[in-house]
């Protein structure tokens, strides 16, 4: 007994990368395994070196191509001026705060509205016929309507009506337009999710005595939403960028803030700054989407028979 303990203690000390130490069966890695691992480590080192070298080479080539391109000095002055970048960045960031708030509010509104429309489209029963038709018409219309036209009609057109009690605030109107379009996208994502749940799930739920609505609420929707997380996040990233379009109504967001400086200086660096700020905002989101997707794929793979 003590001998076995000694063995496993020694094993733990000898090979730190041995994940099986907890098995407690006195396993000691063989010389064959150690040799194999040495070889794999050497191969990994070589791969890293090759990757580093080829990256460096690519970077140098790219740099030389760009710098030696005709018109590069002028391009650099017009698009990559450090002076204008310094001037634009604080203003752009100030404007970006508006985009972020718009994203948060519109994001929630889009998810709720999209879900309601999707459910409306899947309701059964003759009473709901008009609701089904309306929901279908809504998604067809707003999915096909270019977002920019939607925005111009709502942001520029609605104030022209001079209706009492209707806001003329370009941010609120812009947010409304975004919500209208994106809830149509998201409704389709949800509907696809609901329809992707195998009918046998609904049958199993109904066989327990759950009503149609209960089956939807407790069995179908939880599975559908989980399955649709990646495409939903995709639409959210898209929405994040498109909040920049509310600037057409005059709201001072990141895009508008850049536009003001460009109009004054005729130097286009602020646009680049605003663009990069949006990119920087979406990268964490897309990485998160990738991570969620990969994790879900892994979970599914584990559920397989192999």
């Amino acid at each position: 007994m003590t001998l076995a303990k000694d063995e496993s203690a020694r094993e733990g000390a000898d090979s730190k990368d041995d994940t099986t130490g907890g098995a407690g069966d006195g396993y000691v890695p063989s010389e064959r395994r150690l040799e194999r691992e040495r070889y794999k480590r050497a191969r990994a080192r070589r791969a890293t070196a090759v990757a580093a070298l080829s990256t460096l080479l690519t970077a140098v080539v790219l740099y030389l191509v760009v710098v030696n391109a005709p018109g590069w000095p002028r391009t650099k002055e017009t698009f990559f001026s450090a002076q204008y970048a310094r001037e634009a960045l604080p203003k752009v960031l100030e404007g970006l705060w508006l985009n972020v708030r718009l994203l948060a509010v519109c994001g929630v509104a889009v998810l709720v509205l999209g879900m309601l429309i999707a459910i409306a489209r899947t309701l059964r029963g003759p009473v709901f016929f008009p609701l089904r038709v309306l929901a279908a018409a809504y998604t067809d219309f707003f999915r096909g309507l270019p977002l920019i036209i939607n925005l111009m009609i709502v942001v520029l057109g609605v104030p022209a009506l001079r209706l009492q009690g209707v806001t003329v605030d370009p941010v609120l109107l812009g947010g409304t337009a975004l919500t209208l379009t994106y809830s149509a996208y998201v409704a389709e994502v949800f509907r696809a999710g609901i329809e992707s749940i195998h009918p046998s799930q609904r049958a199993a739920a109904r066989s327990l005595g759950l009503t149609n609505r209960q089956a939807l609420r407790y069995v179908v929707l939880p599975q559908a939403v989980r399955r649709q997380v990646p495409p939903l996040l995709n639409d959210l990233v898209s929405l994040q960028k498109d909040t920049g379009l509310v600037s057409i109504g005059g709201a001072v967001d990141a895009v508008r803030a850049a536009d003001i400086i460009v109009g004054r200086s005729l130097n286009y660096t602020p646009y680049i700054v605003a663009g990069l700020v949006f990119v920087a905002l979406t990268i964490p989101m897309t990485r998160f989407t990738d991570w969620v997707t990969a994790r879900m794929d892994r979970q599914r793979a584990q559920g397989g028979s192999l």
Binding site: T19, T20, Y27, P29, S30, R36, S305, L306
Partner: protein, 252 residues
């Protein structure tokens, strides 16, 4: 003659772990040419993992595996070249649903082994004919019954003339009637001299067809021998208990 004696597949103290749990522990195995080895044991005893290790679908932690005297677990070895010599039939068939039966079968010969379309199709049709599927060549897998799909999967594995055939519980997803038609095919392959390793729950079949039976329990080959030895006179208490339960369930 000594050449024929050399095992097609040999494993030596193979160890495989998933996270903290040891799935295979010190597994030794030798499969002589033109023999059938049956792996039996409860679910989770490591049968499928053993087959997956033999086809390099899983990296082993320790030990070594040889195919025709060449160590295939050496990290320098070309894994695709190894897999070209081994045929695998899966429990869930794993046919490609977007291809016709004929395309499923000729994919490997044409893309990997460089056979011409005419050549590959001729062989595929010949094999299909032999397994009673001559009229299904142009059908799509989803239109076939489970037993037919599994026979197509066997043809797909055979089409590349493998040195060794691994069968992973190929009848587990089939109803009793279809089990018979698939097992008949395996019996025919044995008569042709195909070297096979199969994981199975069909004890009666294992007893009839296997030259060597290995009883796995907790990742260890607890008992091995001919069918008479393992089924007739098991040495280990654990084996006796397993077989008793099988008999009680009326499966032997």
């Amino acid at each position: 003659m000594s050449d024929a004696e050399a095992p097609v597949l040999r494993m030596e103290s193979v160890r495989k772990t998933f996270g903290g749990s040891v799935v295979l522990r010190d597994v030794d195995l030798a499969v002589a040419p033109h023999t059938v080895t049956a792996l039996i044991g409860a679910s989770g005893s490591g049968k499928s993992t053993l087959l997956r290790c033999a086809n390099l679908l899983e990296d082993i932690d320790d030990g070594a595996i040889w195919l025709d005297g060449e160590e295939i677990t050496d990290p320098r070895v070309d894994q695709d070249a190894v897999r070209r010599r081994i045929g695998v039939v899966f429990q869930a068939y794993n046919l490609f649903p977007h291809m016709s039966v004929l395309d499923n079968i000729t994919l490997g010969p044409r893309r990997v082994h460089g056979a011409s379309r005419a050549e590959a199709e001729e062989r595929a049709r010949g094999l299909l004919e032999r397994l009673g599927l001559g009229d299904k060549a142009d059908a799509y897998p989803d239109r076939l019954s489970g037993g037919q799909q599994q026979r197509v999967a066997i043809v797909r594995a055979l089409a590349v003339r493998p040195r060794l055939l691994l069968l992973d519980e190929i009848t587990a997803a089939l109803d009793p009637e279809l089990v018979g038609e698939v097992l008949e095919v395996v019996r025919g392959l044995k008569d042709d001299g195909m070297t096979m390793v199969l994981a199975t729950h069909e004890m009666g079949f294992a007893r009839d067809v296997a030259d060597q039976i290995c009883f796995l329990d907790g990742g260890v080959v607890l008992e091995r021998g001919t069918a008479e030895q393992v089924f007739g006179d098991p040495q280990q208490e654990r084996t006796r208990r397993f077989l008793r339960r099988i008999v009680e369930a009326g499966r032997l």
